[in-house]
């Protein structure tokens, strides 16, 4: 039992990341509103942040900023941080693009329910 708890803690960020991914996907599959759907996509994407930070983290390590700590101090992986921070800004603009699509769907088709948007019109 103790072993299982230790194993769970060891993998906790990765399990929570998978949970966020699946929960967001569930929201997308069952969504009845485009804005809700876009927010669910954001939840799906936030799982990648957790995954990346979980991969790069080191117990007892400092942030990879060598201003007030000498070079050689154990620090967490800067590569995953760099991946994540560009991801956040890019995600914000991609979300704006999707919201603009939702506005156009509402104006053209008169609905923001994906169920109602099934029929394509030229």
């Amino acid at each position: 039992m103790n072993h299982l708890a230790g194993e769970l803690f060891r993998m906790l960020p990765f399990i929570v990341a998978a949970w966020l991914f699946v929960v967001g996907l569930y929201g997308i599959v069952t969504s009845r509103h485009l804005v809700h759907l876009i927010m669910c996509l954001v939840v799906v994407q936030s799982s990648t942040y957790l995954l990346l930070l979980g991969v790069g983290y080191k117990f007892g390590a400092a942030a990879p900023i060598f201003v007030d700590i000498p070079v050689g101090t154990p620090a967490v992986d800067p590569v995953t941080h760099a991946l994540m921070l560009t991801d956040i800004v890019v995600e914000a603009t991609v979300m704006a693009l999707l919201l603009a699509l939702a506005i156009q769907a509402e104006e053209r088709a008169g609905s923001v329910d994906p169920e109602q948007l099934r029929i394509m019109r030229g």
Partner: protein, 259 residues
């Protein structure tokens, strides 16, 4: 496919994914036991190789600069896409003065407290944004973070004034030019290295004294260009969304009911 079937299919798929994922996790090095060599190598070398004390910015704009260039063009393309989708359509007419016509939305008058606090924040936000952009290679920050801080300035103006005030401090044309200069400048910085006979995006500017604002060569230049692009891109987005909500009207759709 109806709703229940889709949910059932998803639950089956989700459960399968979760099981395979747990199976895949088994045997991986656990959380907190970072295994890879790359992070440690970069942490050890950044200060000597690039004279940059923030390893994250050095990775973003130098070691992984080519990837970031691609990501920056994703940003550029999605801003342009949103701008294109929200443009003035052929049959739209412009509302003058701009007015929020959404039903059932009562806009309360801006309180004096918000006005004063907002106006007092404008200058510190601009200064902090510029500081964050310029010190990216030294302390946490850089073009992406600083650009977002800079772009919040027009929003604060809208919050404590109105759309007309926002319209006066922003310029669609200038923002688009700044965005293009930021995105193009990044690529051009990479191309200049080729003229020196170096690979694309090589750090060709003298690295300077570690700890100086003007140190670490192209990392500083690219960080500033990215800051310009992110700030201008977000401002273009705001202008497009505001115009769509407040200015453009479809004929015969004067009181467009929002869902």
């Amino acid at each position: 496919m109806n709703h229940q079937m889709r949910t059932a299919l998803f639950l089956a798929g989700g459960l399968g994914f979760f099981c395979f994922y747990l199976w895949g996790l088994h045997g991986l090095p656990g959380f907190g036991h970072y295994p890879g060599p790359y992070g440690d190598i970069i942490n050890a070398l950044t200060v000597y190789q690039r004279h940059a004390t923030d390893a994250v910015t050095a990775v973003n704009f130098d070691y992984r600069g080519f990837d970031t260039l691609g990501e920056e063009f994703i940003l550029f393309t999605s801003v342009m896409g949103a701008n294109l989708l929200l443009r003035k359509q052929k049959d739209d007419r412009e509302e003058d003065p701009p007015l929020d016509r959404a039903d059932g939305r009562i806009v309360p008058p801006t309180s004096d407290a918000i006005r004063v606090a907002g106006l007092a924040l404008v200058v510190p936000i601009v200064v902090f944004g510029l500081y964050t952009v310029a010190h990216g290679q030294l302390t946490p920050g850089g073009g992406f973070q600083g650009g977002v801080i800079l772009a919040s300035m027009p929003l604060i103006i809208y919050l404590c004034g109105d759309y007309n005030a926002f319209d006066r401090v922003t310029s669609h044309l200038l923002s688009e030019i700044a965005e293009a200069v930021g995105a193009g400048g990044y690529a051009v910085t990479g191309v200049i290295a080729i003229f020196f006979g170096l690979p694309f995006l090589t750090n060709f500017i003298p690295l300077g004294q570690t700890g100086d604002v003007l140190s670490s060569g192209t990392i500083f230049v690219i960080s500033v260009l990215t800051g310009i692009e992110v700030a201008a891109g977000l401002v273009v987005l705001m202008i497009s969304f505001f115009a769509q909500a407040l200015v453009y009207r479809k004929p015969g759709n004067e009181n467009r009911r929002l869902p």
